[in-house]
Symmetry: C2
Amino acid sequence: MAEFRVQGDQRGVIMKFVIIGGDAAGMSAASRAKRNIPDMEVTVLEKTSDVSYSACGMPYNIAEPEVAIESLVVRQAHVFRERQGIDLRIGHRVESIDRTEKVVSGVDSEGKGFEIPYDKLLIATGATPRIPDVPGTDLPGVMSLKSLGDGRRIKDYIGRQNIKKAVIIGMGYIALEMVEALHARKIAVDMVKPRPVFIPWMNREMAPVVKEEVERHGVRLYAGHKIERIENGNDTLKVVCADLTLEGQMVLIAVGVRPASELAAAAGLELGPANAISVDKAVRTSDADIYSAGDCADAFHVVTNKKTWIPLALRANRAGWAAADNVAGKAVELQGIVGTAVFKVFDLQVARTGLSVSEAETFGFNPVEVMITARSRAHAHPDTSNIYVQMVGDQESGRLLGAQLVGKEGAAHRVNAPAVALHRRMSVAEFSQCDLAYAPPFGPTWDPMLTAANQLLKKM
Amino acid sequence: MAEFRVQGDQRGVIMKFVIIGGDAAGMSAASRAKRNIPDMEVTVLEKTSDVSYSACGMPYNIAEPEVAIESLVVRQAHVFRERQGIDLRIGHRVESIDRTEKVVSGVDSEGKGFEIPYDKLLIATGATPRIPDVPGTDLPGVMSLKSLGDGRRIKDYIGRQNIKKAVIIGMGYIALEMVEALHARKIAVDMVKPRPVFIPWMNREMAPVVKEEVERHGVRLYAGHKIERIENGNDTLKVVCADLTLEGQMVLIAVGVRPASELAAAAGLELGPANAISVDKAVRTSDADIYSAGDCADAFHVVTNKKTWIPLALRANRAGWAAADNVAGKAVELQGIVGTAVFKVFDLQVARTGLSVSEAETFGFNPVEVMITARSRAHAHPDTSNIYVQMVGDQESGRLLGAQLVGKEGAAHRVNAPAVALHRRMSVAEFSQCDLAYAPPFGPTWDPMLTAANQLLKKM
């Protein structure tokens, strides 16, 4: 592998691998590229001043005033540069890709232009927070959370101002993680969003369990209110809806993200679902010399057999590795994703994998759903609590299509069993026969996943 | 289904389904048989006075003096009799099976003989504690734990006597659960066993983690000491080894169990591994009218493709259902087991699935093993702890063969992901690509199972 050279080049010229974006996907790719071929010339161009940090850890870090936001940095820039030999350039914003000349160009933080040639390019530009198209989203104190810079800004703001009350626009998982963080900082929170359903993808009987957990902590939820504008009030910010005005010293916009694919689109690369950069199983774009990985790229969904866009950290890391391996000629293909995700909402674990009922319908399945309430520990075992499991199967084929779990304990890791089953396209009947672990402190004899599968089978 | 009648019988005679044994497998079968065919005549013959209790919950119940042992009873005898219409007879010991006449006979608790004819028979006689063949095992204060009667006896003994010190012979999972129970009752414990290795099936670097957890709680472990006899001392019992004598007011023998297959053997039924009653995938014995389920019966092992004997509660319940379904003509086959088990040792969760290295060798694989230390939560997340994962793959086929986990959190349910993978004979490479859940409170971005798989791939 170490003798790898640019294809078609007889002079042994060292390959130039350029990476746009220095977070999870970009730095995973850079590190792996140098491990694969130590004399490869690896250049990372990152527009901010931060690289390689745990973006998902930000809400938990913001919750703790005494811990520096920098503790989220997994590896320092100088380590990448000095120990790994990666040409890491921060404050470098790429503005265009010339695919014919194989050159990227842009400006650095001092306003100086740069042009860098590549043999192979990786676009790992991540995602951008979606900002509602209403007046006032640029007011001081209106913030969103995506980059470490955003996290730093929010944490500084909370630390400097004496914030007693905040408004969060959005009720997705980032919004729900942030409400817990703000609650830990003794900040009262109102949450508001236009759509009337609390967690749209969640089973209608399970979503209220999560809703109650949030409300139990004093958070007020306003679903179904279209935001008209944000404006300055008397020492506060006002979030104005048609029939409702909410006030706080801070407004957090957390209505989701969109793929940062503008650069790729401008270069004429194909886009996929949600305008994410379209990649094949080798994470190669429509240009054979350009790869894409991370929240800007799409992925193959194993359950639907179609492309999808689900921005998640594990996929970003894995796709970064795959890009680096393919650049090194290893011919790695990724199986794809099944949409496994988990988050914490106060004392609850919320997990899902595969398709919801409405997603299953969209993709042409004939879904049958079941929701069961089981216990997190065995009969008569102390400290047992409810665990709620939803499971979806396809009436025609008998296939397992997805599962959702909510519980105080035992939901987060349990979801991985149906996730593996989805990867191998197991039927509900086959899954129901799996030999899952049992001991009284950890669940009932019939694991809640198996009880859900057994109940689902009866309906199919 | 309700019109089911005895095969070959034109008069519509109601089927007689007789079940020997009234714990997990037996009562699961009885309940399901009545649900399948309400007018079936279902008779359960249980030699003790207890039915349908959580045997696995006994150590946890013994730990709590204020909770009655009867709280482990899942369903009372009168419910089975009155609401479910099951002819449940306690104190009925079956002594022989006449397969030609299709009659079981025995004696009841008053010494009165009985003879009961059957059309279909289920043997669910469970397992019997193994007792070392040394003098003194019948002394008062020397006990073992299998039936609810055993649990009651131990709990009464602890409650009545002022026990300060106990000796446990054995270091298997029942022994380790009991040491925690006795510790909770403020009883000091010495543990002793003949074999020198602490947990023989466990990876050699992981077993010390469990050992230290036990010793950290003041328990003294003496492995590699052959027990010669148990004798009365001065107000104590003495466990005498060649080079060591341990003393306590109570001795618990927990060196494992053996299948209670004597009745089946005497009736000429085929036996399998460990002398368990041999059953096919429909849990039918070598006699087409006799089924067997629970700890007395063997099972098909999905990884080895061979019969095995692993007494576990989930299989007992599942096999009980399968027997009842097959008796009702449903033609149910069980996939088999992969040997998934979990137990708690003080603050540690210990889990396994599939084969250990030495088991893999025994069954003709060419095993490669890896052991990794990962963290239970994300980088920089508070309260993170170590999680140890062992993984075994087959060098030839690339198949995943097994996994073991130890950790304070996140080990118990994580084992289910590789368990499902084993059911579908996944390769380590395929498993390494699974889309598992990630959020900072629940694990690192790369789940420890995936890191283990990635490391194992490098060695294969």
